[in-house]
Symmetry: C2
Subunit: 588 residues, 2 copies
Amino acid sequence: MTTLFYRLGGLSSRAYSASATLRSSRPIASKSGGSLKTPSLAIPSRSFSSAKGLRRTRPPIPRRVHAGVVAAGSLLVAASLFGGHAAHDESPNVTESKHYIRLNEVKKHGKDSERKWVTKGVRVFDVTDWIAAHPGGPVILQAVGGAIDKYWDIFSIHKKQDVYDVLEEYFIGEIDPRDLVDGKLSEDKVEDPFVSDPSRDPRLQQHTAKPCNAETPSSCLGDFITPTEIFYVRNHLWVPQVDEETHVLNVELPDGTEKQYTLSDLKSRFKPFSVTATLQCTGNRRKHMSDNAKAATGLQWEAGAISNTEWTGVRLTDLLEDAGFPVNDWNFDEAKHVHFIGSEAYAGSIPIAKAVDPQGDVILAYEMGGKPLSRDHGYPLRALVPGHTAARSVKWLEKIVLAEDECQSAWQQRDYKCFGPNQTPKDVDYASAPAIQEMPIQSAITALKSISSTSDKGRAELQRLGLEEDAIKVEGYAYSGGGRRIIRVDISADDGQSWSQAAILPDQALGHKSWSWKRWESVIPKRLAGKSFVVKAVDDSYNNQPESYGAQYNFRGNLVNAWHRVRYGDEERAEDVDVGERHVRSTK
Amino acid sequence: MTTLFYRLGGLSSRAYSASATLRSSRPIASKSGGSLKTPSLAIPSRSFSSAKGLRRTRPPIPRRVHAGVVAAGSLLVAASLFGGHAAHDESPNVTESKHYIRLNEVKKHGKDSERKWVTKGVRVFDVTDWIAAHPGGPVILQAVGGAIDKYWDIFSIHKKQDVYDVLEEYFIGEIDPRDLVDGKLSEDKVEDPFVSDPSRDPRLQQHTAKPCNAETPSSCLGDFITPTEIFYVRNHLWVPQVDEETHVLNVELPDGTEKQYTLSDLKSRFKPFSVTATLQCTGNRRKHMSDNAKAATGLQWEAGAISNTEWTGVRLTDLLEDAGFPVNDWNFDEAKHVHFIGSEAYAGSIPIAKAVDPQGDVILAYEMGGKPLSRDHGYPLRALVPGHTAARSVKWLEKIVLAEDECQSAWQQRDYKCFGPNQTPKDVDYASAPAIQEMPIQSAITALKSISSTSDKGRAELQRLGLEEDAIKVEGYAYSGGGRRIIRVDISADDGQSWSQAAILPDQALGHKSWSWKRWESVIPKRLAGKSFVVKAVDDSYNNQPESYGAQYNFRGNLVNAWHRVRYGDEERAEDVDVGERHVRSTK
């Protein structure tokens, strides 16, 4: 079961997959088992979206849905986890005869319609009665009134017989041949889920366009504050279209009470709080691991899946207090985790200890870099959890839930974990490792600049530095999670044989702890430069970076922080540009 | 100056040395300078013991003392830092003629006498007027009424001309020849500062006897709770004789107000709080670094300068609140550090953020392992700072001071810091690294046990484990600072080429975070055993241990946490003892 789910590709398809192995790696219901195992045993007492109805009065699961569930195994469980349940007992409008439906008729059955239809290929389905049981939750509404094909390309977990069987139950007819070209729906009739994504700065180094995943190029990593337009983008799905005027944040407390806040409430009723914080993707530097140890699955980020800026918003503690949660006297047993749920489907949670820590500085941000959040970064509202992996700083935030259990999304239960160098997706017990929260010590080289006496500019720079020979200026960043301050950056020009200390550059950062990266630089005489430059940093808990990629290898390539080595070959040596900057390439 | 102080040997002599280089590595007053530099500029606004008098009304420094100070350089500054000042202007009873004094007369001039004398060799000094200016503070009272020689052996910083010159000013006569043997004071007349130290369990592996520094042998590191009698001992000085009935804890707030608590107060007026916590010496595993990289100065601890037990006492937050400090609404500017001062002279401080953290679990412990503290471990009261280096869990606690500045003792400013692999005591700026507080991820192998089918016991054990071949059971501990939980322990039987995961053993620990080590074990078929076993662990911030000792080398050999390798040679291979335990030797 674990293998099956892991093998299913697609960037975000694992949203569904975690559910089957929530608490163990054993399947909860299996084909061979035949009968349905008591589903309530497999469902955690606290659901992902924590719907009150689910917890208190679970409606009977209709037999028809059961059939699909027994086949699909995880789907019902997942459905329950995502807060849905089969709400109706009536049969869908299944028809055996050829029944043609015009496309404009399909369009009328969108999310505001009473009956909701989708097309797949040339076939039409009325999925109204399935929606509440849909494992992915209400995200299915994004597709209704149109073709589901492209969504299934994103959520590729759908592409298996079990799911086809479920869909088949809701078949109502075929698209009228008059709306087809060569027997197929023409490409322009299939809505692109990413059609409303914003345009991006061409300098961003894009790994995938749909969803957008793009890193800040090394040439743009030189400043303490990263300009918003080149702040790295990590989207799991499309960018939802959220209207600031109508957007509502829902806060659900452990006792089930809920409170709503508009953006206007958040801005007017709470004192704004600003914090300067680095966000780093869990997969930053994954490519370095793939290149130097063994291929790791996922986006092949170099060292630019990290950026830093000033965020402004409402302190989570202030909001929770306003919503009626006693932040200074909380009950460990009832609220151990704070879930953040985004508008597009993404979700994650953080431990309550971080959420209520008066020095934890968790905010619900509506501004970055002094301006409203950009759409790619969560407009109009996102969680901002300083010191933790960016995966917990949920964008397009629409719901906060205080719960006893951790978020059950795959992004919490599967994708963002690390295992041992020997462990493989085939044998791993996902529950054996905790969800990544605080990040370990990290550093990277972002630029090598030649300072040469062959030009006036170079000579002036050498004079300013008090140097009488050509030199290389090495620049980069260092960062540690949990608010741990960078206290030392060691640089080697001879592949780790000898070291010197880089100058850590001064900066001004807001917040109770060290939530921001440190920029550093080191000027090294050119004659001392060997085949590569290496950096390693130390934080104020005196944590060190591991030396090599091999021993920290993990199949997902998460939290890669082995010493960063950058080649300095004959090619670079030959170029005597004045204060010239080179694109940083990591050594293989 | 930095070099000078570093080079002065003696285990604890550096208590004095930090003072000269408190804020920079430059000397504050020098011989060549001739005149005394304005001392107030060199003295931090907040003194180590924070005596109110010092801060507010500094008495004029008598000219005679000046002379010594100009010569001694650091001593006056140090004196001020330790809260003393030259209190009297009268000249000491200096005499140029031979004036003989009987030993029983010297004895009468002890700490309860009005005039306080010491002997050095055969000479007698009335140090009454120096006491208040003594850089080491009132610890000098330990020696008065007797010979100072053995104390100077401990505090070897005294052994230089500057200090001899100061002492000379207080010369009053020589010991009467009738009290000498062969012109010298007989050994039995020189009091041993350690005379009242307790006896220790012979199983402890002693590195030095006076002061006692002894590690828990690997054979005793097998239990989650370390029995008190074999809990490792790290004493910087002698064990002070403290009477629980009369001992008083003094708490000084930023505004200078003080409040006293007897042991009885602490036990009766506050709710006892228990926490299970590991204490680890900053120098644990130093020998591994010395053996594998380069000699590191200090006690050559193997892997046993670490132990774990349950501690009970008063929560520091409760005490501070009672003393009038607003723990939930504190002022960053006035109280940034909490100083702990021991009865013997030792002192250190922790950041206020840790002290007031409701989940920080800092206590003033009066019990360990369910019984009153043993004398070696701080009887009757010690600080217990979970997650931090044991150096901040000050024993024989007699004073707590809330101050703007960090503790200025050498144990805070010098001894417990790490520098880069290239940095040496000659060139290092001590102020450039923070005092060690939270510890990094650590693990060690404590036992290799052979499970062989050549004996009934071995066969039974193999059967229990479901193994059909001889095996090696590897056991050890893993620990991380800051309350970070151990989430994975990787074991290699082939020197790090391949890995498997050890079983982390269950335990029951008290406290808000993971303050205790984890015990782990791993059973590996004997045929897979190479030349050494290796362990590395991961904490819940996914911090990794560094691979080698070389790149984390620091001249003090602090926080050594490179992968622990234990040799498994032909010798061990040949022995087929049944479930036999071997003493663990690290590889060189």
